[in-house]
Subunit: 357 residues, 2 copies
Amino acid sequence: MEGVRPGPRNDLTDVAGIAVGHHHRRGRGWLTGTTVVRTPLGTVGSVDVRGGGPATRETDALAPDTLVQDVDAICLSGGSAYGLDAASGVMAVLAEAERGFRVGAEPGRVVPIVPAAALFDLGVGGRFDLRPDASFGRRAAEAARPRTFALGNVGAGAGATAGVLKGGLGAASAVADGHGCTVAALVALNPAGSPVDPATGRLWAVDRLLPGDAPRLRTPLRSEVAAHRAARDEARRAPFNTSLVVVATDALLTKAECHRLAVAGHDGLARAVDPIHGYVDGDVVFALATGGRGLPAGVEHGPPRPAGDRLVELSGLGAMAADVVARAVVRATLAAEAAAGRPSYRDAFPSALRSRS
Amino acid sequence: MEGVRPGPRNDLTDVAGIAVGHHHRRGRGWLTGTTVVRTPLGTVGSVDVRGGGPATRETDALAPDTLVQDVDAICLSGGSAYGLDAASGVMAVLAEAERGFRVGAEPGRVVPIVPAAALFDLGVGGRFDLRPDASFGRRAAEAARPRTFALGNVGAGAGATAGVLKGGLGAASAVADGHGCTVAALVALNPAGSPVDPATGRLWAVDRLLPGDAPRLRTPLRSEVAAHRAARDEARRAPFNTSLVVVATDALLTKAECHRLAVAGHDGLARAVDPIHGYVDGDVVFALATGGRGLPAGVEHGPPRPAGDRLVELSGLGAMAADVVARAVVRATLAAEAAAGRPSYRDAFPSALRSRS
């Protein structure tokens, strides 16, 4: 994408005020976790659910026309619908800090707004009954910091798979050269489909990478491609899946405009994973706008139908959102490490990462 | 409504296989609770969210086009978004019984589908921080029986208010004389608006009652109407609200057809409460179709666009759904008892219930 560059950390925390924390457990039957995104005050949120098997909480409150405008945190988790309990621990942490939608004059009278979604990783670690609960949400929320965070087999991506490969957590960011707004994405990559083109072994979205996103990737050896295709044919894949995304920007958007960022985020998934949005995927994209920067078109609080320059800028933000999601998918795939009997992309295609001699 | 009669219990359990349980706490700062509706196997579910401030969980899974068709239970709760935790306890009870969406061949590999919604009663009992948690859902689910249940200040209606009056839990059912299908509703009535016409003191939906729904209601005395209007003008009303509804039928419906029942249920709320569906109401109607009876039009598994006789019958079910919801609102209002400084309708309008001498 022209006219943009990765932000300094190349992750969601390049949007000022956004903090990210993970909590996960691995071993003794465990392989799952939770990732929490905490927001600065006044962050508007929206969501777009396009998967066929979603597990969600508090998404109706994000409809463009409802009372609540601000989002206090987003909670992504493994554990399928059971893992929605993690949001309870996030709410508790926020309520203790008196952060939330104010419902009374007395101190502490708040209801934290914590939309949540879960992906299917039940049994991946060996035990079906070990999954995130409220303590995972609490610990991930307490761990959240406004600085760079680990990628790969961490947080909500700990038990994630991607076709026959290990999935995981990825992130990327972009800063527009013109108006200077940042758009960033965090992805817990756990699709039924694959981020890899089986014909070539190349990552579907590899050409969308920006300088600094990843080591220079080579077209894999034919022998690796053949082995990967054989593994695909033989594999007993995870029967249920789901990729979860948070897109964030520092642009000042209305809730309805924010929804268009979530819509665009799904296009990034579509470009980076094939197939996507199936019946056994519960793909959800949340979008957050912290409002730290007005778009330069001048109309900071846009009318319901933005016109003129603002429309151009909003469209540009959408294109940025799609691209950061696609890049975050690639980075999740490259950061993942072999686990639960699944090789990483690096394991399956070592030639792709071999430096030229 | 012509051509229908109340079912034998005049509540949601007149739909064969439906079980209802409450758990609530009152006193020492508590006044809140949870109501769980458990379903027979193969029950299809849908939802329609029309309030401006919803608190929900697992509603996206009920979209007409998603993978999951069957609903294992519905969880209604006080406690605003905090109260969504009650669903966790319901899931636990169902998982222990191996009831849920099957995600693996081994025993116990299920994910129970428990859509949930919460109403705002925070602080009504005196303490803001006492609200339903997973233990409420567990206990309500364990208490669920396929027989008649208490109305009034119970379950999710324990802390409910209705304008300046005490709200509560109501129910009603209808059996069609023709095809014999049952449609029933359960309502946790907690609106910002009122079930009472302030000009007359009559309940907005009183004329929709069927014989046996309630004692014969008289037009209240003018002095009571004047006192009620004065109370309305002076009252510091609950700032946030929400009415929650479950409509159920034994008709065999597709998930999309089931959605139309939820839509119709909101019309019942609109006729029985004024105003309704405001920004501070998070009104949600869930709809369940157990499939115990085929509609007599013959096409049991309807095509996406039902035609001919089936369309007539489906429209009839919708009209029944709207009416049972309106009747359930009236019955909730009459069953409620004074609490938390709010009089019941019976307290405010004793002349309405006085038998003719």
